[in-house]
């Protein structure tokens, strides 16, 4: 722990940044010591990314002062900040996957001979850079042949070699598994020993507690407080972030009131597609939440896509209230009262350039047909209504959805489906990449929807979450449904063991 030595590396005071309609940063102070890992926390829209962007010159601040090593700096762009000593690694690795590792490390300053790139020298230099991080890989191979974790470390190596004083890590662990996170943290600890100041942004509180020395919490563009991590209580931290008491473990399961004797609302029998997911049977009842757990690539997303007819199935049938459905496309599924919010918001969910209003009415408009346009005034009413009900943070309904934060985009997508009043709603990772506050709201919404009789199928990597709201949990592994847990069996331990050691549970099923 470094709180004793406290040599200040980077300070920002009174940072203010205003966008049309919102004040993203309001007089925020931030201080980073050399040789510390400093976590930056807050809900979506709290101002974390705006603060980072002001520090790295991606945005110009409206007011305030930034000092690096005591000298006032004013980075005009990220390159500028980099040359001053502030490097950034983003959640989605900003490297060139089709170039080699060495090329990525040394892009723009490759060693040259007679005007040509000296490949051997470059590879040697690249290997040396990575050896500092305990990484011994073939640097002549293309970057995309390596895992995201290694790409992440390559990005860090590049950033550190270019800047070397401050390293900003924006959600670096979002797509890493447990071992990869450990590997990344070893690298971070190494850099801390070398005296770098590291800013760490993450939604995973466990990781924040594990790696950080101090933390700064922002809320609604304002500074809430700075704390030493040692001795900090978790609940206290969540309260700082949310500004309210979050009843952490008091969610009631409400696993009653489902009439399993009745005919299921939706029944999938033998539904499957070879290579994607083995044929499965699944009944979904009125007012029931079916959770789907499984590792990435286990076949959980494929399950959702087959159900929604977003991908063709090659076996099985679907019935609704006992009647056979012919589902050949998402249009058919929507006509049958289905809805589907996909995992990848950016490529499959939002229409980024279009307004919040248009994104909300899209599915309903598509269902009632092109010839009967929903009058503009009605569209406005719908949009304003959902913005209020789901607490979507946007200056107004005409703002392009691409400019909202992830959690708010997710709420708009939810609104898109709620507008069609579906009977069966499929949510694939509805809480991925969004902060604690929006998280809790979406979970509350799921519970409310099923209380109103909607049937839901929710895919999530957050097992706590599945345990909290599911009436039944399906475990998917190796492209097959391998277990179904009900009632008292729904615990995170049971789910984990079903994912990991499936045989005995399969037998039980």
């Amino acid at each position: 722990m470094t709180s004793g030595q406290a040599s200040t590396l980077l300070t920002a005071s009174g940072l203010t940044k205003t966008f049309p309609g919102t004040r993203a940063l309001d007089g925020v102070d931030f201080e980073l010591h050399a040789g510390e890992v400093h976590a930056l926390l807050g809900e979506n829209g709290a101002g974390k990314s705006t603060l980072i962007k002001c520090l790295t010159g991606a945005y110009r601040r409206d007011a305030g002062d930034i000092r690096l090593d005591g000298a006032s700096i004013d980075p005009h762009n990220t390159l500028d900040a980099q040359s001053l000593g502030i490097g950034t690694v983003y959640q989605e690795v900003n490297l060139l996957p089709n170039l080699t590792v060495a090329e990525n490390l040394l892009l723009g300053r490759q060693p040259r001979r007679f005007g040509f790139i000296a490949r051997k020298a470059m590879n040697g230099e690249g290997r040396e850079m990575l050896s500092r991080y305990g990484l011994d890989i073939d640097v002549a191979r293309n970057l995309d042949t390596y895992s995201v974790a290694i790409q992440q470390i390559v990005a860090i190596a590049r950033a550190v070699s270019l800047s070397g004083k401050v390293l900003i890590l924006d959600e670096p662990t979002a797509s890493l598994d447990r071992d990869e996170v450990r590997m990344l943290f070893d690298v971070i600890r190494g850099l801390r020993r070398e005296g770098l100041g590291i800013v760490f942004i993450s939604h995973f509180l466990d990781q924040v507690f594990e790696i950080s020395d101090r933390l700064t919490v922002l809320r609604n563009g304002r500074l809430v407080g700075v704390r030493d991590v040692a001795g900090l209580d978790r609940l206290q931290l969540v309260n700082m972030m949310l500004g309210r008491e979050l009843a952490e473990e008091t969610r009631d399961h409400g696993r009653t009131g489902i009439d399993y004797a009745a005919e299921p609302r939706i029944r999938f029998s033998g539904t499957g597609r070879s290579g994607a997911i083995a044929p499965f049977d699944l009944d979904v009842h009125r007012g029931e939440v079916v959770g789907v757990a499984g590792l990435l690539g286990s076949g959980r997303t494929e399950t959702a896509e087959l159900m929604f007819a977003a991908a063709p199935k090659d076996s099985g049938s679907v019935t609704k209230n006992g009647k056979v459905l012919r589902l050949a496309s998402p249009r058919d599924a929507i006509a049958a009262g289905f809805g589907f919010s996909p995992e990848d918001r950016k490529t499959s969910g939002i229409i980024a350039d279009m307004s919040v209003r248009e994104n909300i009415v899209l599915a309903l408009q598509a269902r009632i047909g092109w010839s009967r346009r929903i009058p503009r005034r009605r569209q406005r009413e719908m949009a304003d209504d959902y913005i209020r009900r789901l607490d979507i943070r946007t200056p107004d309904a005409e703002k392009p959805i691409g400019q909202l934060s992830g959690g708010n985009q997710q709420k708009v997508l939810l609104a898109r489906w709620l507008a069609t009043n579906p009977e069966f709603l499929i949510l694939d990772e509805p809480t991925r990449g969004i902060d604690v506050g929006a998280h809790a709201e979406i979970i509350r919404m799921i519970e409310e929807l099923c209380a109103n009789g909607m049937s839901l199928l929710v895919i999530s990597s957050e097992l706590d979450e599945l345990v909290a709201y599911s009436h039944r949990v399906i475990v998917v592994r190796d492209r097959a449904h391998v277990a179904a847990l009900v009632g008292q069996d729904i615990t995170t331990d049971r789910i984990v063991s079903a994912i990991a050691r499936p045989t005995n549970l399969e037998a039980a099923q």
Binding site: S348, D353, E358, L362, W370, R372
Partner: protein, 332 residues
């Protein structure tokens, strides 16, 4: 901000550009704005611009919709040649005017269907898919005319190219009506929004239940229909079909009109009116160069320079500097 204000802000750069171009021409050629009324129609250079601009204006209507879906239609010039050839050969073969028009317009729709199927069903990139018909189309047109310039003497068909209606040349009435009709169609229904959604994110739109395939095919068919109308007008005007030269390079003018209209080639939000003003800007430049008396060999270079200036003035980078007007979606 209400709808009218939004519309005016959207087309302000195009209107201002057109005004500047026209003023420049007026400066060089003082009698430019003189209008006279004779033989039941208006005469004068402005009317001439509207008349000569008809083919590109018609193409720009279809092209705007295609580009809004993130596609492009390179085949429109060739489709003009095909439909002109079919009209000329049908009328000389003794078919009546309605049958002739039906055949020519039907051919345009069929060409659009072909493009649409290649793009939406087979999944070929639009620029490649429409390139096929762009190359093959002139060959088809030559097969129809059997390699000659096919002339005809039918006054009914010629009326579409050189007659008057409501005091205006017929082609002007045709493109204005078509523009108004398609604008109403896409804005009074949800078509416009659905087309924009498909253009921005086709996968997300399909998952939201938008019938993207059908929309894409429809949009290419509208483009084919517009090209057919343009082809008929050109053939009717010269009372003959020239398979080699009818509509040659007009696909580029049509794309240019859409771009001058401030529509993104990446797809998404679009304005038909702005594209149509863009088409008239192009024709004004053409006419302006002609009346200014520059030697013809300079024409293309001058046109290119003027287009460059227009695009630079409209570019978002310049807007960011606050030099000129604000763009629809990039308003500060």
């Amino acid at each position: 901000m209400n709808g009218t204000m939004r519309f005016l802000r959207r087309v302000a750069p195009q209107i201002a550009t057109l005004a500047v171009v026209l003023l420049l021409i007026g400066f060089v050629f003082p009698g430019f704005f003189d209008l006279s009324f004779a033989n039941g129609r208006l005469y004068g250079s402005p009317i001439d611009i509207l008349n000569r601009g008809a083919p590109v204006a018609l193409l720009a209507i279809g092209m705007t919709l295609v580009i809004a879906t993130g596609g492009i239609d390179l085949s429109v010039g060739a489709v003009m040649a095909i439909c002109g050839a079919i009209a000329a050969s049908a009328i000389t073969a003794g078919y009546g005017l309605p049958a002739t028009l039906l055949m020519a317009l039907g051919a345009g729709l069929a060409c659009g269907l072909w493009n649409g199927v290649l793009v939406a069903v087979v999944g070929i990139q639009p620029i490649v898919a429409t390139l096929i018909l762009m190359v093959a189309g002139r060959g088809i047109a030559q097969l129809v005319t059997e390699g000659t310039i096919l002339t005809f003497t039918n006054d009914g068909l010629a009326f579409l190219g050189s007659g008057n209606l409501l005091g205006l040349p017929t082609p002007v009435v045709i493109w204005l009506s078509m523009g108004a009709l398609v604008t109403l169609l896409v804005r009074r229904t949800a078509l416009g929004m659905l087309i924009e959604a498909v253009g921005v994110n086709r996968r997300a739109s399909m998952l939201a239940g938008v019938n993207a395939r059908l929309l894409l095919v429809t949009v290419y068919m509208v483009s084919g229909l517009c090209a057919a109308m343009a082809g008929i007008i050109v053939a009717a005007d010269i009372r003959g079909a020239d398979a080699n030269n009818a509509g040659l390079f007009l696909e580029l003018d049509a794309i240019l009109a859409v771009v001058i209209g401030g529509n993104s080639l990446l797809g998404g939000g679009f304005s038909l009116v702005a594209s149509l003003i863009g088409a008239i800007i192009i024709q004004s430049v053409n006419t302006g160069i002609l009346v200014a008396g520059f030697p013809p060999e300079f024409n293309l270079v001058i046109k290119a320079v003027i287009v460059l200036v227009i695009l630079v003035v409209q570019s978002p980078a310049i807007h960011g500097a606050g030099v000129l007007f604000s763009f629809a979606r990039r308003s500060p």
